[in-house]
Every structure is written in structure tokens, then in C-alpha cells.
Symmetry: C2
Subunit: 316 residues, 2 copies
């Protein structure tokens, strides 16, 4: 680990797109990612970590970036055969992707902790940044919906986020602790960036790990959040609906309110410039930029802007 | 199940080749297979049942018969990707084959018993015969060798049966019981055939399940064993070495001695005709036939001969 790393709290695709830019702004070896594992699940006996995998695949340069998940050019032979055996094949896994899950599950069932296996996979795929799970213990993001009590993946993938969400809750948090390396990375950090991921179901679980919020709050003066909401709409997925389910105002101001105790800087989209004064009034130093992370260059600009905020004088 | 089924105690490939002939001699719906699960193992989180799968794939007509394991025309994309992540990729699984293991493991981890899942897989693959595991409980065939204490698959696949075997032993037998359906099938049977599988590590575990030997002994008068040893050599694999490790004479006579208390009939190869008098002297009715099961027709002839023995008068 770099002596003064840039630490990123990360969900899935939104974070991965942001990280693709960050590695153009700072040396990849200087980056430590703390990833959400609330979406992890056991699937036909295999342990799947969708957010960790997404971040790993994007940083390794093997991600299917158009699709947002899985490995570029993967085949789906096992998946197709499974679909002939059972209807419970809604979670799509490519054949190469399966190797990741086989490896991880084999290691976990041999008692290797998740942070060790996550590091091994990143290294074997050639990722130079360090990727840490938020915790080694199982934490599950669950949703009470009008279609029943669902695991996040059931809601998101199987039900395609159509059910109305009444409540989001977590299991396993009581026994969870920040994974080994998390506290050290945060306290040694030169900057902490909260990626433009869903504040409720991607960043939320990370900050809910007992002790985590305090660790981030302790370095609040060097923490910057990037809004995942542009003009009141999520770039992708059900972010707005899930913010509403948590009673969060579904725009950049609402997101800024959520991170008020853990971040000092805030990057919002140019389309939301009118919210800038209200966000600044919360005590944030702000940057207003185009935050659609369409390509690595756009993402680099946003990463640069986030880091630059930390150079602003406190009164700005 | 047929009212008076033909029951087959079965290991892997040897049994599968035999069954390919049996289904030409009797209606497939009349056949109940009791399969060895001592070779089963957890592999990277998935539950693998090599012998049950081999039998299922051959009866379903999807087996790679030349290779002896797996599915014809399967691809190995996941396997190749796994090999880039770990050296522990010695057990070869095709992509379509993986779907079987994913399905089975998913069902087992949802608390479905192995016999239920085995039946589901057979049905989904269009197998008309009934396939039962010897027991639902985990039983493991292990070998003490000069390369250490190994799971059967480690010895057989990873070490390619090169280590010298000092002792064969089993774990889990104490808690094991014949799977639901086994006792009923045996007592209702019109014939019980012991397939030409390895008596020590394929049929041995089946007969060691507490209660099983008594169930077969009770129908001894209609039980026929087919020798897997021809002219003192196994058709395939380490049968002879494993017989020696158990102190069994490694020829048709030694096999006949092992089954003396559970079988009344014995089919041996023409090359072993000189052993026929000694085997008959053990109390067996015998048939001497070419037992190389090269194709379905040859296997049908052996199956026919085994069933015909039961028509012989007791004194023959």
C-alpha cells in the first residue's frame, strides 16, 4: 500500500466507472478501494460478490463495460445448461466469471477470509490497486417490497427493481467489523473519495459496518463525495427509488445531507448547479462538473475535481 | 418404479458401460440403480458426485463415452479460467457439467436430500431408469498412501493412481443409512446385479452402508455379480492395486470370494474360464462370457447372461 493512499468507498458499476478515471489521475498503486459486500449472495453453492467483482474486473481491464457486469467476451455455456435444469437461473454468470466464484468459494470454504481472497483475485487478474471488502463477515442488504422480503439481487436482477420498496434493512451487521486493512488505509489516507454509487444500498452498507462511520468521520476533512444523482435522476438503476425508500431527498442535496458527517467536499453535476448554494450551506466545499462518466477521460476530470477540492481553502 | 425392478449396484464407468447394455435387455423403466457416493467431494464449493453423474450421463445418452466422464462436446472455458487463478484445478469439469453441480449444490444447500436431487437431475436429463445414491449422508472413501492420506479423487485424478495404497478407509459410515427407496427396491426386485465396478472402492462403500449388506444378502438368491477383472487385469484404472490393498486376490476368484455372502450368481470372462470350477465351488451359479463391454451389444450380452443365471436350477 502507498504510504498515503487515496481511499475510495465503492459500490458497483458507478464506482467502477469512476475508478477508471481515478487511475488516470493518480497512480493505481496509490489507490485502496473499500467495496460494498451487502449485495453478496450464495448462488447454487457459490459465493458471489457482485460489487467486488465489478470493481476488480474494471480495474483489471477485463470488464464487459457496455453490459456493466461480467467479463468481456465471456461465454454462457454453463448458464444455458443450468437454465434447462431449473428456473432458478436468473442470475447470469459467464463461464470465465464462474471461475472467479469457484476460486473464491473454494478459498472461503478452506477458511480463508474474504479480504485475503479478494486480494488474491485482484493480484491474479493484474490489478495494481488494493481492493478490500468492507468487512469479512456476511452482511446482507434486504428489501421489504410489495413483492415480498427480497435479497437485493432478487430485487435488482430477478425482479428488475419493479417492486415498490417499503424498507431497506441489513442482516449480519452486529457481527461485522471493518476488514483488516480498512482502518489503516483510512487513517493513512491523503484523500477519501465516496464514489458516485447508490448512497442507500451501495455506500450505505459500508458506512453501517460498526466502527466504519467513525473511521471515515475522523478523516472527514479529506473526504469528498461524488453525487450519483444528476438532475434528480440516477445514471443507472433504481437509485432514486431506493433513496426515497430511505426517506432521502432524491437529488444531489439529499445525497449531500446523507454524507454531511463523513465528507467535507462534494462534487455535483453541472445540471444541478442551482443546488450548489444549499449544499455549500451544509458546510461542504463543492465542485460543479459534468459527472456523466461516459468514458475514462470524463471520469478522470471528475476524479481530478474531487481531489482538487481538498486544495481549496477551508472557507471556500 | 416397476413393481419388480432389476436393481443394479453401480460404481462409475464400468457400471455405466454395463447399464448401456442392460437397458437393451430390460425396459429402462424397470431398472433401479444404487450408486456409489464414496467418491463424492466438495470442489471449490460445489458438491461433485462423479459416479452418480457418470451413470446419469450414460443413461441419458449425453456422456462422453470415449473419455469416460463428463458430457459429450462440452467446453472447458470455466476450467481454463480457473487454471489461471489456482493450481487446485486438477479436477476437470466442463461448462455444461458445471451446471449439474451448480444445480445439485443449490438444491443440497436448500436442504433437499441427495436422493431427491439425484432423481431430479435424472428426470431433467430424460433418464427413464431410477437412480438412487447409496445413502443421503456424506461418506468418504479415503486412502492411506505413500503420498499421504488422500481423498479417492485426489488419488485417482490428481495423483493418477501412482502412489502405493496402504489402506482404504471410510469416514461418515456410522451416520449413513440406505437412501430412501433402496430397501424397497431391493426387497421388491426380480434381480439384483452387481455391476463390473471395483469391488473395493466402488461396490465396497455401497455394501458398507450400515444395513445395506443385510438387505442384499436377504435377496442373495436373485443377486448376480459381474467380474470387473479379466485375466487378472482391470479393464480400466487401479482396480487390481486396490483389491490388493484390501487383501483381496486380484482376479475373478478373489472378486467372487468378496461377494460370496451377497450373490448367488457370477459372470466371469472367457479368459478366466479356468477359475470357473473354483468359483462354482464357492456356491455360485456361473456364466462365462466375453465381458469386455466395448459397445452396447457386448454389454447387452453380459446383462442377458447375468439375468439368465437366475433361471438356472439351483444345483447347476
Amino acid at each position: 500500500m502507498a504510504s498515503r493512499p487515496v481511499v475510495v468507498l465503492a459500490g458497483g458499476v458507478g464506482a467502477a466507472r469512476f475508478l477508471r478515471g481515478l487511475v488516470r489521475a493518480v497512480p493505481p498503486d496509490d489507490i485502496v478501494v473499500i467495496g460494498n459486500t451487502g449485495d453478496d449472495m450464495w448462488w447454487h453453492g457459490l459465493y458471489i460478490a457482485p460489487d467486488l467483482d465489478t470493481v476488480t474486473y474494471w480495474l483489471a481491464g477485463v470488464a464487459d463495460e457496455a453490459r456493466g457486469w461480467g467479463i468481456r467476451g465471456d461465454t454462457f455455456t454453463a448458464q444455458a445448461a443450468l437454465a434447462t435444469l431449473t428456473d432458478a437461473s436468473w442470475f447470469q454468470l459467464g463461464d470465465r466469471d464462474l471461475a472467479t466464484h469457484l476460486y473464491r468459494t473454494g478459498r472461503l470454504t478452506s477458511s480463508a477470509p474474504l479480504h485475503t481472497v479478494t486480494a488474491e483475485l485482484a493480484e491474479q487478474l493484474g490489478v495494481r490497486s488494493r481492493i478490500l471488502p468492507m468487512c469479512d463477515e456476511p452482511v446482507e442488504t434486504r428489501l421489504k417490497t410489495d413483492a415480498g422480503d427480497l435479497h437485493f439481487q432478487e430485487y435488482f436482477v430477478r425482479e428488475r427493481y419493479r417492486p415498490r420498496v417499503r424498507e431497506i434493512y441489513w442482516t449480519g451487521l452486529d457481527a461485522a467489523r471493518p476488514a483488516p486493512g480498512v482502518a489503516e488505509a483510512l487513517s493513512a489516507s491523503r484523500a477519501v473519495l465516496i464514489a458516485p454509487s447508490n448512497p442507500s444500498i451501495s455506500i450505505g452498507p459500508i458506512l453501517r459496518v460498526p466502527g466504519m462511520r467513525e473511521l471515515v468521520a475522523a478523516v472527514r476533512d479529506r473526504t469528498v463525495a461524488i453525487s450519483p444523482v444528476i438532475a434528480g435522476r440516477a445514471v443507472k438503476g433504481p437509485t432514486v427509488e431506493l433513496l426515497r425508500a430511505e426517506g432521502i431527498r432524491p437529488d444531489a442535496l439529499g445525497v449531500a445531507e446523507v454524507y454531511r458527517d463523513v465528507a467535507r467536499g462534494f462534487v455535483l453535476d453541472s445540471a444541478d448547479a442551482s443546488l450548489a448554494p444549499a449544499i455549500a450551506a451544509l458546510g461542504y466545499r463543492i465542485a460543479v462538473r459534468p459527472t456523466m462518466l461516459d468514458d475514462g477521460e470524463a471520469a478522470r476530470e471528475v476524479a481530478r475535481a474531487a481531489l482538487d477540492i481538498l486544495q481549496q481553502p477551508a472557507a471556500a
